[in-house]
């Protein structure tokens, strides 16, 4: 395998792992938020706001990883 092939492979695997982690994180977050909403429906608005902020932050971390993958895939050649 050439370096180009390795970089494409690593970009693909990296992107997959990024999405996996972010998916797990946001999934857990949404599950907990739904749980909390079920326990205390009066606080739905606050919980949603907090959830969205946390989701955005988790997503940001995932996007950092994806940028690395994109750089690997585009700068390789």
């Amino acid at each position: 395998m050439t370096n180009l092939a390795y970089s494409f492979l690593s970009a693909g695997i990296g992107a997959g792992l990024c999405v996996l982690g972010v998916g797990l994180g946001i999934g857990r977050l949404a599950a907990s938020a739904l749980d909390a909403t079920g326990r205390q429906p009066a606080a739905t608005g606050d919980i949603r706001t907090t959830m969205l902020i946390a989701a955005a932050l988790i997503e940001g971390v995932g996007l950092f990883g994806l940028v690395v993958s994109i750089l690997l895939a585009t700068k390789a050649g």
């Binding site: 608005g45 606050d46 706001t49 969205l52 902020i53 955005a56 932050l57 997503e59 940001g60 971390v61 996007l63 950092f64 994806l66 940028v67």
Partner: protein, 364 residues
């Protein structure tokens, strides 16, 4: 009924775009494609064509294309090249060559994204110049336009600015948050209009927006804590011998926040469009019209999802800007680092009707 009509129009316009692309990629094929090898080469060529078409569509370019549906015609609007040489002879002689800022050539020529960004900003300004109620005797908004704008403005002020920044300082930063919210929302929605393009899907635009938030955050914290308090905050309140670790970490923390802000908006807007086009591109990659039965409804679904994402990303950007500014403002209120106990008194503000609504000065 009208809603279904709109959906139908949307579907037809998407199919029309798809057909047009199909026709074009057929033109690109070699005329005598009888040989198997040649046909295979044609198919390969088509695949490359689809991906370059997608990348060209989302990337910035010095011209704007208006394609006529159901025909091969397209109007291309070329923008003039405006370059300012910061150093003598830094700009290349011909307009074809790329200009580099590091060499000392400032390129301020219009591009596809700046063109649509300017249209978006003019639209926002006009919307509020004519949509805002400036009659102080009659503070109640009239008609659907004013009521809609009031709803969004009050939402940004009472649900984003005040709970995150505080009751005293919140209204001070509300104009910036409102501007950024409506600007990003308009640009995101412009990206979903046929023929237009998403300026927020450009790294430069989101970089500028994040930079403004970054500068405002620093100004807010220096105003709240004073320069001494601001610098003291850089040490993280740690003993002096941990400073060599704490100061770089805190400085890094300053820049990661706007960096994430920049990247989030950019990646979300770009990714949505690429997914949309990839779904439609499947028709040409597989090369069978029957695929469109699956691909077009999926593309419509993604399109509607993008409509939601356009609002969500505008909200998230504004919300995080407010959060960062609020962190800066909270710096002055107490010396310790915890922001949690600070936010609590403002949570009580949430949704209270005592905040008098004055639409005369709200959109400005």
């Amino acid at each position: 009924m009208r809603r279904w009509l709109w959906c139908a129009v949307l579907a037809v316009s998407m199919v029309a775009r798809a057909q047009e692309g199909h026709a074009r990629s057929h033109d690109a094929e070699p005329a005598s494609g009888e040989h198997a090898a040649r046909a295979q080469e044609g198919a390969k060529h088509e695949k490359v064509d689809t991906s370059t078409y997608i990348l060209e569509h989302v990337a910035d370019s010095p011209e704007v294309e208006f394609q006529v549906p159901l025909s091969d015609k397209e109007f291309i609007l070329h923008f003039p090249v405006w370059r300012i040489p910061l150093e003598a002879g830094a700009c290349p002689a011909s307009a074809e060559e790329p200009a580099s800022l590091s060499a000392g050539c400032l390129d301020i020529s219009l591009t596809k994204h700046t063109f649509w960004m300017l249209i978006g900003s003019v639209f926002v300004v006009l919307l509020f110049v004519f949509g805002a109620n400036r009659n102080p005797k009659q503070p109640v908004p009239h008609g659907p336009r004013q009521n809609l704008l009031e709803m969004l403005v009050i939402f940004v002020r009472n649900e984003i600015a005040i709970p995150n920044i505080g009751k005293e300082e919140g209204p001070r930063y509300a104009p910036y948050l409102l501007s950024v919210f409506f600007f990003i929302l308009t640009l995101n929605l412009l990206g979903l209009v046929p023929w237009a393009s998403t300026a927020t899907g450009n790294l430069g635009v989101t970089l500028a927006l994040a930079l403004i938030t970054f500068v405002l955050t620093q100004i807010a914290s220096i105003r709240a804590a004073g320069l001494g308090g601001y610098l003291k905050h850089m040490t993280g309140g740690a003993p002096w011998w941990i400073w060599p670790i704490m100061v770089p970490v805190e400085i890094l923390g300053l820049f990661t926040k706007p960096f994430a802000l920049m990247l989030r908006l950019f990646a979300n807007m770009l990714a949505g469009h690429i997914v949309l086009f990839s779904l439609l591109g499947l028709i040409f990659i597989i090369g069978n019209v029957a695929v469109s039965v699956v691909a077009v409804p999926f593309a419509v679904f993604i399109y509607l999802l993008e409509l939601f994402v356009a609002f969500l990303q505008a909200y998230i950007f504004t919300m995080l800007s407010a959060l960062f500014i609020g962190m800066g403002v909270a710096m002055g209120h107490h010396d310790e680092h915890g922001h949690e106990e600070h936010t609590e008194p403002h949570e009580a503000v949430h949704g209270k009707p005592e905040l008098a609504v004055n639409p005369a000065n709200a959109p400005g």
